[in-house]
């Protein structure tokens, strides 16, 4: 059996379905669901919703039913007809505009109560409130559903464990899987399997570590040692394709394969390592002795290696492509540099130095004063403005110390005037509008109705939105006060004439009236 109850109002909605799912799409939907769930019966079943506005009045409103204007045809519907028309999934009856200006949100509550009452759909939801988040579908799985969700069996082959990648929360999955495996194999066999897999993993890790070490050694270009070890282990490896005669430390010839890529690398680099030189290829080359004279070396076994390495290294050309090119530096003659007036260091006399220090101290003191004044006023110091101001003064030549002070004081007065002007008339036109919480903090009020009025003023005059819905205003109110307003607040303000109802695209919305703005100005602005 499937059922779904969707409750919509003022742009908010939530659904409760037969899969024990409470579907809430936004924070406001949560408030709405909470208000709707103010009934004791509903609360008893839906424990996961945090009761934000647990107002007795709301509960009373919720439990009250206004049936004055229910059309008579609605009470005469025949449920048998709906059964007969089972083939047609169209709505069996639609109640349009049951009217009434008050109690709108709670008129149909008994249906929900009735549904929750029945044993078929008695909901057992006990999630922590933190689970309820914006845009989140809350799935409350029954134990039977949990079993259905696990379609992927655990495969314990020698070293493969599959089916884990799709699992987001590992703990319950592991527990459930372990239970399943225990059921199938028994506890002892399961333990053996686990140990076996653990051993495999350890072996794999050690093998990988060995490979990593080998790669590290290769990177450090100690080819001889690595190659000889690898050659011994991988004589038949196709990777080693060529062989060369080399001399070891004892001048014995041995065959040692060389990696193809290394040969290419070595030829590219034009660097000859003694290990890769054949004895036959060595020619007699002149070398330099300690006194600097050229000496004709002989192919004696004692000095062949030395000669080859020294001479070849001397002949080897550096690889341009691997060389770091030095940055181009423009060389400037020191005298020319200093001859330029702009680069001349300014030498100050002792008197000037003292003045400069005093000016700097005054600058700092003035700045500190300004900053502390601003901070005391609860404002962010306008550092950029002050810095520009000081730069402007300092850029000009200073005729005298007194004139400098006068100029500075003048500028600072202008700054203060400008700042005070900005504070008197808040100007949010070119700036990001302040958060309602911040805006509300500048007023002294504690009642929800006042906060509601301030918020409606804020929406119209700060956010420049002509009207608001209950959803939008409650969103601001909740962020600022932790409370939401219900229709009683709205009705009271409408009766006072401070807000009025407007219809925008058939949607019922509200806006602050001129009386409301006047009241706001007289009460809160002074």
């Amino acid at each position: 059996m499937y059922y779904n109850i969707k409750i919509k109002c003022d742009g908010c909605e939530f659904s409760l379905d037969s899969g024990n799912r409470l579907i809430i799409e936004s924070e406001m939907d949560k408030y709405f669901a909470t208000m709707f769930g103010a009934s004791e019966k509903f609360k008893a079943n839906i424990k996961n919703i945090e009761i934000i506005n647990d107002d007795v009045k709301s509960i009373e409103e919720f439990q009250r039913l206004d049936i004055d204007n229910v059309p008579s045809k609605n009470t005469d519907f025949d449920t048998d007809n709906s059964v007969d028309n089972a083939e047609q999934p169209e709505p069996c009856c639609v109640y349009e505009n049951l009217s009434d200006e008050t109690d709108e949100k709670f008129a149909c509550a008994p249906l929900v109560e009735a549904v929750v009452e029945t044993p078929v759909c008695s909901v057992d939801i006990a999630l922590p409130s933190s689970v309820v988040e914006e845009n989140e579908e809350i799935l409350i799985n029954t134990p039977s559903q949990k079993q259905e969700n696990i379609d992927t069996p655990l495969i314990c082959s020698d070293s493969v464990v599959s089916g884990c990648s799709e699992v987001s929360s590992q703990e319950p999955f592991e527990k459930i899987i372990l239970d399943e495996v225990n059921d199938e194999l028994g506890a002892d066999e399961t333990q053996e399997k686990i140990e076996q897999v653990d051993d495999d993993i350890e072996n794999l890790i050690s093998a990988v570590e060995k490979e990593i070490k080998a790669v590290d050694i290769l990177d450090s270009t100690n080819y001889d040692s690595v190659l000889s070890e690898n050659v011994k282990e991988n004589k038949k490896n196709d990777f080693f394709v060529e062989e060369e005669l080399v001399f070891d430390e004892n001048n014995k010839i041995e065959v040692e394969p060389v990696r193809k890529d290394e040969i290419e690398q070595l030829s590219n680099e034009n660097v000859v390592s003694e290990s890769f030189i054949k004895k036959d290829e060595i020619e007699t080359k002149p070398s330099v002795d300690e006194t600097g004279d050229f000496v004709n070396s002989q192919k004696t076994e004692e000095n062949i290696d030395t000669i080859v390495s020294e001479s070849d290294i001397k002949e080897s050309k550096p690889l341009e492509e691997f060389q770091i090119q030095p940055e181009e530096v423009k060389v400037v003659n020191r005298d020319e540099y200093l001859a330029d007036d702009e680069n001349q260091p300014i030498e100050l006399s002792e008197e000037d130095k003292i003045k400069k220090e005093e000016i700097e101290n005054i600058n700092q003191e003035k700045l500190n004063d300004i900053f502390s004044q601003d901070i005391n006023k609860g404002q962010e110091p306008k550092k950029d403005l002050i810095t520009n101001l000081l730069e402007e003064i300092n850029a000009n030549p200073i005729p005298s110390y007194e004139e400098y002070l006068e100029q500075l004081n003048k500028k600072l007065d202008n700054y203060h005037n400008q700042v005070n002007k900005e504070n008197d008339i808040p100007n949010f036109e070119n700036k990001q509008p302040p958060d309602f919480k911040m805006y509300l903090a500048s007023f002294k009020c504690s009642e929800l109705i006042d906060e509601f009025l301030i918020c409606s003023y804020y929406i119209k005059n700060i956010l420049n939105e002509n009207c608001f819905s209950m959803k939008s205003i409650n969103s601001n109110l909740y962020k600022a006060t932790g409370m939401i307003a219900d229709m009683s607040v709205v009705n009271e303000l409408i009766e006072l004439g401070y807000i009025k109802t407007v219809y925008v695209e058939d949607m019922k919305k509200y806006t602050i009236t001129q009386d409301g703005e006047a009241y706001f100005a007289s009460r809160f602005k002074n």
Partner: protein, 44 residues
Amino acid sequence: MPQYVFKMKKGELEIEFSSDDAEFVEQQLEKWREEILKKHVQQD
């Protein structure tokens, strides 16, 4: 599979009740109807 959809509206409040179980729908709507009638009688 048949599906019954009941949409009830009062002002901005709208309740949409859908189910594929005719008997269940019948029970729930009967309860709702009784609730309305009961209140109506009380008020009269």
